[in-house]
């Protein structure tokens, strides 16, 4: 027995060594040039921290979107392709609210804060409603159909929502800052946090909290806001799912729909609630992304959706903690790839990670057996 175990270990080591060799051989094509990376880190170790900050902030947004994917998948085993686009609608909703309420041009800090809160509430409510109606219109009647059908319906829904975003971005009468350049081009999401700092004069009006110190780091109020908000949402969601009756009903439905039904749980309502919560999170992520990256674009949902789904799979789909972990990891991966590998290969690295995870650990990092049910 001992020798067999050793043999297996040796073989595993061998596979690992060969895989590593191939990665190191081919990797430099896509920027994975180990000596160069080592040299870059050595030359400026503080930058590593900087990339960490950027990665965590971006990862927080990805994690929030990933929660929506993972919850829906946990309950009805469907990849809600339209989810990323609901997030994009969240960006446009909050931008429109900010514009209509006149917050964009305001110099009054109270008004800015009130406007932002209003934008958050409306974006969350609108996206929650949108997500739930998508479920009602496109998925509910396909619940018992072969698995291909709802998936294709979801892709269709994603296209529809994307197109709504494209049309939205063309309505300059609604949001004057869209300009006359049509719906396809990127729209600016003004830097409201920066405006708030300027209006209050806090930290000398600079959003960078390290601005007045000697440390050559950039930790902006935006980073802090995004991370704090994301962690708060995650903890809230976690408590909700663990503690409340509805949360328990959700977990029960995820484990066994029929049994849950027998216990008197209203399955339709539980599923609707899941979509409502997922959509609301996407709406919040929309506002956060708008404030953080200052861009609204009809296509941003597609890319964000793919990355978030990857994050959900990475963490173990169906697992809420896993989605958060996955989101942060994907954010870090993207940021390190941008910084140390090569920006134009980042997307390929993200997907390569997805493929590798699915190959070697289909259940994800924290996944239970749900992955195999697929």
């Amino acid at each position: 027995m001992e020798s067999i175990k050793k043999k297996i270990n040796l073989r595993r080591l061998g596979t690992l060594a060969i895989t590593l060799y191939i990665v190191f051989l081919i990797g430099p094509i896509a920027g994975l040039d180990v000596p160069a990376i080592a040299a870059a880190i050595k030359a400026n170790p503080l930058q590593l921290v900087q990339f960490l900050i950027i990665g965590i902030s971006n990862g927080a947004i990805i994690a929030i979107i990933a929660l929506g994917y993972t919850m829906v998948y946990g309950i009805i085993e469907l990849i809600n392709f339209a989810h990323g686009d609901v997030y994009m609608i969240g960006v446009f909703t909050s931008l429109t609210v900010l514009s209509v309420t006149g917050t964009l041009d305001s110099k009054d800090p109270v008004k800015i804060i009130l406007g932002l809160i209003l934008a958050l509430v409306i974006a969350v409510a609108f996206c929650a409603a949108l997500n739930a109606s998508i479920e009602r219109l496109a998925y509910r009647r396909l619940r018992n159909a072969p698995r291909l059908a709802p998936l294709i319906s979801a892709i269709g829904m994603s296209f529809i929502v994307e197109n709504v975003g494209l049309m939205w971005a063309a309505q300059a009468w609604l949001v004057p800052s869209f300009g006359t350049t049509g719906g396809a081009s990127q729209k600016v999401f003004p830097d409201m946090i920066g405006a708030l700092f300027k209006a209050t004069g806090f930290n000398g009006g600079d959003v960078n909290l390290f601005a007045s110190t000697d440390i050559a780091l950039r930790l902006t109020a935006k980073d802090v806001l995004v991370i704090v908000l994301a962690v708060a949402l995650m903890i809230g969601l976690y408590l909700f799912v663990q503690r409340t009756t509805l949360g328990k009903a959700m977990r029960a439905t995820a484990q066994n729909r029929d049994a849950a039904k027998m216990l008197g749980i209203n399955i339709d309502w539980v599923i609707t609630a899941t979509f409502l919560i997922g959509g609301g999170l996407a709406g919040a992520a929309g506002l956060m992304a708008g404030l953080y990256n200052n861009t609204a674009w009809w296509f941003m949902g597609f890319r964000a959706g793919l990355q978030s789904f990857t994050a959900a799979v990475l963490g173990g789909i169906g697992n809420i903690t896993g989605a958060m972990l996955g989101g942060f990891l994907i954010g870090l991966l993207a940021s390190f790839s941008d910084g140390y590998l090569n920006a134009r290969w980042t997307n390929a690295w993200v997907f390569a990670t997805l493929v590798l995870i699915l190959l070697f650990r289909p259940t994800g990092l924290l996944g239970e057996q749900t992955g195999q049910k697929a």
């Binding site: 030359a43 400026n44 930058q47 900087q50 990339f51 950027i54 990665g55 971006n58 800052s177 869209f178 300009g179 006359t180 350049t181 049509g182 396809a184 081009s185 990127q186 729209k187 600016v188 003004p190 830097d191 950039r218 902006t220 992304a289 953080y292 990256n293 200052n294 861009t295 296509f299 941003m300 890319r303 964000a304 993207a334 940021s335 390190f336 790839s337 941008d338 910084g339 140390y340 090569n342 920006a343 134009r344 290969w345 980042t346 997307n347």
Partner: protein, 438 residues
């Protein structure tokens, strides 16, 4: 029963074969049966003598997607020039028709290889067409030049292509440029200077701003990478330090990590300037936003780009205060320094279409100018203006042409002799000219 049916069937076969023959005949017939599906946009008033024929000019530009802001002004300018000519040529002997074709497809949201190929084929097949004004994207020109070259050749005049390889041999790709011209006769000319000039002038300009170190980014496209490569080569020649040159992913959500890397790339600090070889469609506004967020305003670290970002869409996308101080180069002189005919054009244009902010409109006007001049030259020499080869020769024969851009000539490759570059800077949310360079 089936026998009877077979008889009917055979009759039908014969009928369709006959129809096919008749069809073949119809295509051979000259333009009397001109396709009625495409009628002119505006009709010319008939002159007293009455025109004896129709000359058609088409443009092929991406009219779908985000280039529309620029291409619409080009089309407007072309129409303006035709209106000034009263849609007639050769002293009223010919009626001019103009159609603005779209070479973009909704599928791609930008120029589509399949659509551009079909446009070129359509133009080649219509004997009334004597000039093809386009394209906007150099990649598209690579597809249409050989098709039109084999069709007459039908002359192609571009208001916007800047890739040097279309007219001048690329030392890395020997023989490729010649392969665009299968007949051996050059049939492609452009009224705008190529990137090898733009990149060179830009490098000198960046040096003149007092910068000594520069980081180069490009969107990896034909135009963006092309101009960035020339910039890099020139920068090294004139003693600028190129800290790095990198391609970006035009669909990324943000570039903060990339900008952080750049911010310490120059021995721990940021470079003096960043040169971006990009068009606005490829996320240029986001790049600028993140650059300003990480490295501060455009005074501290200069942000310089080619004409691809010299459009209002770029400023709108980044926000006026973020874009403040950005430099962009455009071939030619600023509108205010155009010769009188150019100034007149700007005046006429603004009277008809509103304020002119896009730099390419005047090139559209000039391209149409060249086409009309060639037609008139052929007529004046007693030639037949429906003869495509004659028109092509007349275009290439244009020397010391007093057009809206100044007085200039085409060289044997079809490149313009005008190599002026104007730099613009964003001031208060608008591009304003800061000087002209050679």
């Amino acid at each position: 029963m089936s026998k009877r049916l077979f008889a009917v069937l055979s009759l039908l076969v014969i009928a369709s074969v006959l129809a096919a023959c008749g069809g073949g005949g119809a295509t051979e017939a000259p333009a009397t049966e001109a396709p009625a599906t495409e009628a002119p946009m505006t009709e010319a008033p008939a002159t007293e003598a009455g025109p004896v024929g129709t000359l058609k000019i088409v443009s092929s530009l991406p009219m779908t997607g985000s280039s529309l802001t620029q291409t619409q002004t080009i089309v407007n300018a072309m129409q303006l020039r035709l209106e000034q000519a009263n849609y007639s040529a050769c002293g009223g002997k010919y009626t001019l028709e103009y159609e603005a074709w779209d070479d973009a497809s909704a599928a791609l949201g930008k120029w589509d290889p399949a659509v551009e190929t079909e446009n070129a084929n359509k133009a080649a097949a219509d004997p009334a067409i004597v000039a093809y004004l386009g394209t906007f994207n150099s990649g598209a020109a690579k597809l249409s030049i050989p098709i039109l070259n084999a069709a007459g050749p039908l002359v192609m005049i571009s208001p916007a292509n800047t890739n040097p390889g279309l007219t001048k041999a690329d030392k890395d790709l020997p023989g490729v440029t010649d392969s665009y011209y299968p007949t051996g006769t050059r049939s492609y000319a452009r009224v705008v200077a190529a990137d090898d000039i733009q990149g060179k002038v830009a490098a000198n300009f960046v040096k003149s701003l007092g910068a000594t170190t520069v980081y180069i980014l490009d969107d990896q496209e034909l135009y963006g990478k092309g101009v960035a490569d020339v910039f890099e080569a020139t920068a090294k020649e004139i003693g600028l330090t190129v800290v790095g040159h990198e391609g970006i992913d035009p669909k990324a959500a943000d570039y903060k990590a990339l900008m952080t890397k750049i911010s310490t790339s120059n021995a721990g600090g940021p470079p003096d300037a960043i040169y971006v070889g990009m068009v606005v469609d490829n996320n240029a506004s986001q790049l600028l936003k993140d650059k300003v967020a990480i490295m501060g305003d455009n005074e501290t670290v200069k942000f310089v780009g080619p004409d691809g970002i010299q459009t209002q869409a770029f400023i709108d996308g980044a926000g006026a205060d973020v874009a403040e101080g950005v430099y962009a180069s455009v071939a030619g002189v600023p509108l205010s320094e155009l010769p009188d005919s150019g100034k007149q054009f700007v005046k006429d244009y603004e009277a008809k279409f509103g304020p002119l902010t896009e730099p390419y409109a005047v090139y559209g006007y000039e391209a149409m100018n060249v086409a009309l001049r060639a037609i008139e030259d052929v007529c004046a020499a007693g030639g037949d203006p429906t003869d495509r080869a004659a028109i092509n020769a007349a275009v290439f024969a244009i020397k010391d042409f007093a057009g809206a851009l100044g007085t200039w000539s085409f060289d044997a490759n079809g490149d313009t002799s005008l190599t002026d570059m104007t730099f613009y800077q964003v001031k208060g949310g608008k591009y304003e000219s800061v000087g002209t360079f050679k």
